[in-house]
Amino acid sequence: MNRRLLSLLLILLAGGAAYLLFPYNLAFLTRILIMIVLVLSLDLILGLAGIATLGQAAMYGAGAYAAGLFAIHVWADPVAGLLAGAVAGALLAAVSGAVLMRTQGLTLIMLTIAVAQICAEIANRARGVTGGADGLRGIRPGKVLGLWEFDFIGITGYWYAFAVMFLVFLALAVIARSPFGLSLRGIHESPERMVAIGVSIYRRRLAAYTMGGAIAGIAGALSAQITQLVSLESFSFTLSAEALIMLILGGTGRLYGAILGTVIFMAVHHVAAANDPFNWLFVIGALVLVVVFFLPRGLVALPASLKRLAKGGRHAGS
């Protein structure tokens, strides 16, 4: 069977297995799925296009507030809410990206953080609309596709988030293999060369940033619909930084790394924090250190590294 199809099948099976094995942890599993969507958006921006950002939460938060407000004031349909979140994320990314994509390196990183902070402050000040520090409440999403109501246990939420994550993954896989996606990787690896072969770096980077913004907006919208609450934390620096760590942990530029990194990070976080609520960060720190030192291409490169190691051992033994 085609390796790509096999990988997709594996994701579907993993989704089903997680549901069956952890039926009492659906809320946590759903949080993982939402984070995967956010980290996938970061993989498009950072992994493919090489745009360094620590402000992806800006688009996530914009999507969350947009979907929440949309559900409260316009229409409670979840899919329409997702679109509202995507549009909000894309708009914020396009507008801020028009300036940000003219910068690089440290300047770019600082500006992305600034955008997220400005968004958080606006949400805080616009208390009448967003609920300010108390958060946006009263979100009551309707039935998914008019069929499945969000239930207390979280079954609908889990499968809804899984379906969205899977579709986002598929869309990104297609984009990554398209001439557009390949040109993004070209820009990442040799911007001077891409310019010489007629590619406007600025436009491609802006397009990628906007797409990434739309996907982050979808992640935010998912969160708003499933948790039925949007807080200022949606714009937090911690969220952006954690998403980045998850991506680095899994491996950048390969999409599967985003899934793997998020699952490992959140699982370790969950277990470590439950066992030691005060020192769990040590475990996360140690994990990141080990991966960065021994697997600089991320956990997704582990099988290849082990294979190489085994080969080396055989050669040494013979």
Partner: protein, 236 residues
Amino acid sequence: MADRLLELGNVTAGYGPTHVLRDLSLSVAPGERLAVIGRNGAGKTTLLNTIMGLTRLHGGHLRYGGRSLDRMAPHRRNGLGLGLVPQTRDIFPSLTVEENLLSCLRGDATLEEAYALFPRLKERRRNGGMQLSGGEQQMLSIARTLMTRPEVLLLDEPLEGLAPVICEQLMAVFEELAKDGTRAVVLVEQHAEAALAFATRVILMANGTIVHEGPAGDLIADKTLLHRHVGVGIDP
């Protein structure tokens, strides 16, 4: 068709505040085969980079098909019909051969055209860019630029560091590319012999300026000309 497709008038250009090209004037006609010969540091690569807009223009003007290039972004110059194959090749290492080509696909260009020109690339289409030999990388670099359908192909020392048999193969490809007369080829080379055999017109460069310009036949007939102007020679 205009007899001057690409025109440089009194161009002074370089990197940052540094002037590398000084008061250089040059024109390229459609379908022309032009060789640029000179020693290291003569300004040959800077000349091609200036045509592509990758340097700072301090003075003079550049025109392509009657349009001014002076303030035009590099990617737009490629869109007009200028295509550069850089000396550094710049293969995207994480992409396969096929992906390297697809990343630059423009208009009606197809992968099959590239594979017809370089069958070796078809055999290695699933290999990563950095798994290729030097010659294969150069083929890929050329094929990738051809995917953008250039009317003027700028080749920056394409034979550098390659085995003689690969050089012969590449020269045959350049012949093929130039033979129908629709595409101008500007070949920057230190291999004077190969460049003269290919070109109809030659410019010799030294210290950022043109020190001799004329038909390739003149330099073939009088082998001392090359040595006198740029200090490089060809076998008598």
